[in-house]
């Protein structure tokens, strides 16, 4: 009885290796273990033989051919796809996408921030001048790795970079960075 139990355990162990063994993909040690067991276990040996016969029988399942209309139908489905290219599809990398996103967000924020001048009549000109100055000073466009440096970006204080236009109030003037 003790021997029968241990043999059953060996059968269970071999079962997990049988497919790999019959595939010819078992490691040498495992192949040896399976062959050892098959030489003494009639039921596992029968199972292995029937697995081989089964695989041979499964080969009898003939393949089917796609219908003649398959390719044309697929092309029609592809042609019906909506044009999905968006601005972001042009981005070759996520890092560049992040950099451009940051630029756009900051541009929008800068253009919506209060002007440094309190002169209503000159406000439009001041804003325009600030925009030109900001954009022309945007060395970040030329130096994208700066945008990838979070330490730099987090400490960047845009207002401190803006030049003070002549005659403007200095109440909200430049701040000291850091």
């Amino acid at each position: 009885m003790f021997g029968k139990d241990s043999n059953e355990k060996r059968c269970a162990t071999i079962e997990s290796k049988l497919v790999e063994y019959l595939d010819g993909r078992a490691h040498p040690a495992e192949r040896h273990a399976v062959e050892q067991h098959l030489s003494v276990c009639a039921s596992c040996r029968l199972r292995a033989e029937e697995f081989r016969a089964l695989w041979g029988a499964l080969d009898d399942l003939p393949p089917i051919s796609p219908s003649p209309a398959f390719d044309a139908s697929l092309r029609a489905r592809i042609a019906a796809e909506p044009a999905r290219r968006s601005f972001w599809d042009w981005m070759p990398s996520p890092r560049l996408a992040f950099a451009v996103t940051t630029l756009i967000v900051m541009s929008a924020w800068l253009s919506s921030s209060p002007s440094v001048t309190t002169n209503p009549s000159g406000m439009g000109q001041a804003i325009q001048a600030n925009k030109v100055t900001v954009e022309s000073d945007f060395g970040m466009i030329r130096d994208l790795p700066v945008l990838e440096n979070f330490d730099v970006v987090s400490k960047f204080d845009a207002l401190s970079e803006l030049p003070v236009s002549p005659g403007a109030s200095t109440t909200e003037g430049t701040k000291e960075t850091r």
């Binding site: 997990s16 695989w55 003939p62 051919s65 796609p66 398959f70 796809e81």
Partner: protein
């Protein structure tokens, strides 16, 4: 020198439509066969196969070869097939021996026959065996079914199949063992050493198995 599947897909990503055609020609038959054997409905199988190619095409811009192309493609196919089977959206058509012999309409999928014209009896035997095999495979739980089809007919490696089925290699080998164990019993008329391949298989009582 022939380009690899990964190279072809990268060329598709670069805008080369001809490379997509090459992938289509290479994999449409294996995909249709895999899906037909999963869902046992030719119309559904072709619809799903087209969906696989459509998804491959849609994903071309974001394609990054982190695995073999076949692993990716069959993963899409397997998920679609499992969803189709589980949702039971499509009626499962039984391929009957009567339909294959009597009707003029081609409800039976077109089998690829060898060049020698088979006799009527040979064709009958072949269809009977095919019917038994299909029925037995289709009786397997879906994941075992997919495992057998990918292992036996698509000849994917264990690690590939494990990735497709999202399980470990050891779990996959257990899956395969249980599946083949079931098929060994279901297809006993075909597996017995005394069976004759030129005769209609018989069951244990000696009656025709199909």
């Amino acid at each position: 020198m022939a380009r690899t599947d990964v190279q072809l897909m990268l060329d598709v990503k670069a805008g080369d439509e001809q490379s997509f055609e090459l992938l289509l020609r290479k994999y449409r038959t294996p995909l249709v066969n895999f899906l037909y054997r999963m869902v046992r409905d030719t119309a559904v199988a072709e619809d799903l196969a087209q969906e696989v190619f459509l998804r491959v095409y849609r994903a071309r811009q974001q394609y990054a070869p982190s695995a073999k192309f076949t692993t990716w493609m069959f993963r899409i196919a397997t998920n679609l097939a499992l969803n189709s089977v589980r949702d039971n959206r499509h009626r499962q058509m039984e391929i009957s021996m009567d339909q294959s012999v009597d009707t003029g309409e081609n409800e039976q999928p077109a089998l690829e026959v060898p060049d020698r014209a088979p006799s009527v009896e040979q064709e009958l035997v072949a269809r009977c065996r095919a019917e038994l095999i299909l029925k037995a495979i289709h009786s397997l739980p879906e994941k075992q079914r997919a495992a057998v089809l990918l292992h036996k007919y698509q000849e994917l490696d264990y690690d590939e199949i494990a990735r497709v089925l999202e399980c470990s290699e050891s779990a996959l080998k257990s899956l395969l063992f249980r599946a083949y164990e079931t098929l060994r019993v279901e297809l006993a008329p075909l597996v017995s050493p005394t069976v004759r391949v030129d005769r209609v298989p018989v069951d244990r009582s000696g009656q025709p198995a199909c």
